[in-house]
């Protein structure tokens, strides 16, 4: 019998075209605080699954044995946007901080991808990147459907303003 120690897991949801460094720094901080692993899911801002012509394009490439191109299209990769390199960068970045991480590319819309993860994996907390937090519609739908707490991040906390003031002791 082998011991399977289950670590807590944070699902970090971000868009591939946003500044990843900004949000991932907090995700890593929080994972460290909670002694948790990270499951990072990178999404295309518009999703892929719902776009019929995109699917047809990818299928056409696949039928022409252009499998790599088809795979990239299914992964929603635009020119110069290499999902594999982003994945390996994030895994390396997390392991440098001593955080165990899995990076996934989401093909569907944000809400359905998150729901799928919550259904299949034992997620303790959902963390939304600043860009995902900014989309009210998505945020409200996620909150309606998530069985776990959802942590949102918005840029520029009010604390910055406060720090400009003089200091007193307590």
């Amino acid at each position: 019998m082998s011991r399977a120690s289950r670590q807590k897991e944070i699902l970090y949801v971000a868009y591939r075209d946003e500044s990843l460094e900004e949000g991932i720094s907090y995700a890593l901080y929080l994972a460290g605080q909670m002694d948790a692993g990270l499951r990072i899911v990178l999404l295309s801002r518009n999703g892929f699954g719902g776009k019929f012509h995109n699917v047809m394009d990818a299928v056409a490439f696949a039928e022409a044995s252009e499998h790599e191109t088809a795979r990239r299209m299914f992964a929603g990769e635009e020119d110069g946007d290499d999902a594999a390199s982003i994945q390996s960068y994030l895994v390396e970045r997390c392991s440098r901080e001593g955080i165990k991480a899995n990076v996934h590319i989401g093909l569907e819309g944000t809400v359905s991808v998150v729901q799928e993860f919550l259904k299949r994996k034992r997620i303790d907390l959902v963390l939304l990147s600043p860009a995902v937090t900014g989309s009210r519609n998505i945020l409200n739908r996620l909150l309606r459907n998530s069985p776990r707490p959802v942590v949102t991040m918005s840029r520029g906390s009010d604390n910055d303003k406060m720090l400009a003031e003089g200091g007193t002791h307590s």
Partner: protein, 443 residues
């Protein structure tokens, strides 16, 4: 408190006399006819007291004493020395024996020495229980400033004379295990053991073995009999953390054990009777787990005679300042720093943050700040950059509120925190006073 005594004596008649006398005194007594067997029994079963004759085949009493002290330092060893031998008595005491009995001895004299061990054990347990309770009381007087925590403590105080099962619910890091200890140490079972297990940490087979123990040969790798936590917790409390993660098969076994107050070791055929109080904890929505069919409703009702919900730290912001000061005092001695307190700005940042990791996260932040701080007060520079870069909010899906409402509530909290100073609140929030007035007026 029934202590287990092992009598290691090669003379059958003497051994049986000692065992019968001890059983009549209320001890659980077992025997071994040689030192090696006695050592194996201590190794596999664990004993509170060992009475060992110096002269025995296969391993003498002195070697047995040394080896038992290596594997089970808490076992009190009474060495039976031969023929008025002072030197072997002195030698035994040097090697860590609790006491010695020179041959020939009266059975009453032996009982007195065994009772001395029992009394010392009870006193030690009472002291540990009392110390633990006093420490926890001290900690709680600090933690429970908010109305939410005061309510939690009221519930806990109301059940302190009861023996009911308790289900603690709350997010990760809110302090469920600390409260479980409070419940145990303020209960009539306080002198009994308090054991805990995290149900999410083990595979199903291992969890079964940890909870119920196993017989030798029950599965590959079970080279010796092992007692489970249920058995060891007899007379005390067993804390089942993350109980909603327990596999369904084990839930059924646990339910049966709770209902019948007896269970079988893995691979065992003999029922073992126990008297254990259960405190369970979960950070999941257990109602949802029941609805999904992953948690048994009947087990939920068994464990949930009393449910205590511990609110997350963001819902009891008035606890943040006293908790910060408490953690500062707690960790300061370890780092030999001359930190006297916090700047108001640092406290403001701490109060503004929503702590997804709850109290545990706050403690980590304070400890890190102590290490980094070079001055006499914790400043914002010693706090994690993240707390200043982002506005972090933790939202609970079950009571979703529109963002506008969340904003309004946040504004109200800030105004309250500043003692009603709206101008200061508007400045801190980075909005005009007019906007603030409008937000406060909106229903």
């Amino acid at each position: 408190m029934q202590l287990k005594v092992l009598v290691a004596e090669d003379e059958d008649i003497t051994r049986k006399h000692i065992m019968n006398t001890l059983r009549a005194e209320g001890y659980e007594a077992q025997g071994a006819s040689n030192g090696l067997d006695a050592f194996k029994m201590v190794q596999s079963d664990g004993f509170d007291i060992l009475i060992a004759d110096v002269k025995m085949p296969r391993m003498d009493g002195m070697e047995l004493l040394s080896r038992v002290k290596e594997i089970s330092p808490d076992t009190a060893v009474i060495v039976v020395t031969g023929y008025g031998s002072i030197s072997s008595a002195v030698d035994a005491m040097k090697k860590g024996a609790f006491d010695y009995l020179p041959k020939p001895f009266e059975l009453d004299e032996m009982v007195l020495k065994v009772n001395k061990v029992r009394d010392q054990r009870m006193l030690k347990r009472e002291n540990i229980a009392l110390r633990a309770f006093l420490n926890i009381e001290k900690e709680l007087s600090v933690i429970a400033e908010s109305e939410g925590m005061k309510r939690v403590l009221e519930v806990i105080r109301s059940i302190q004379d009861s023996d009911c099962s308790v289900l603690l619910s709350g997010e990760t890091g809110v302090g469920k295990s600390l409260l479980a200890k409070v419940i145990h140490f303020s209960s009539p079972r306080r002198e009994g053991p308090f054991l805990s297990i995290n149900c999410a940490t083990f595979t199903e087979e291992l969890l079964a073995s940890e909870l119920f123990g196993h017989e030798k040969g029950a599965f590959t790798g079970a080279t010796a009999q092992k007692k489970g936590l249920m058995e060891i917790a007899d007379g005390g409390t067993l804390y089942l953390d993350e109980v909603a993660e327990m596999p369904p098969n084990l839930q059924a076994k646990l339910l049966k054990a709770i209902e019948e107050k007896e269970f079988f070791r893995v691979g065992g055929t003999k029922p073992i009777k126990v008297d254990v109080r259960f405190i369970a904890a979960t950070n999941q929505n257990i109602a949802l787990a029941i609805a999904r069919g992953s948690f048994r409703r009947d087990l939920y009702y068994r464990l949930n005679v009393m449910e205590v919900y511990i609110p997350p730290l963001r819902e009891r912001r008035t606890d943040i300042t006293p908790l910060s000061r408490y953690f500062l005092a707690k960790h300061l001695p370890r780092y030999r720093k001359n930190v006297k307190g916090f700047t108001n700005e640092a406290l403001q940042i701490l109060r503004n943050y929503s702590y997804p990791g709850n109290v545990r996260e706050l403690e980590n932040i304070i400890e890190r700040a102590i290490i980094l701080e070079k001055g006499a007060y914790i400043t914002p520079e010693s706090l994690p950059q993240m707390l200043k870069m982002f506005q972090i909010e933790t939202l609970e899906p079950e009571n979703v509120k529109p963002l506008d409402e969340v904003s309004r509530e946040y504004v109200r909290t800030v105004v309250e925190m500043l003692g009603g100073n709206k101008a200061e609140a508007a400045r801190l929030l980075g909005i005009s006073r007019t906007s603030l007035w409008r937000m406060l007026k909106e229903q």
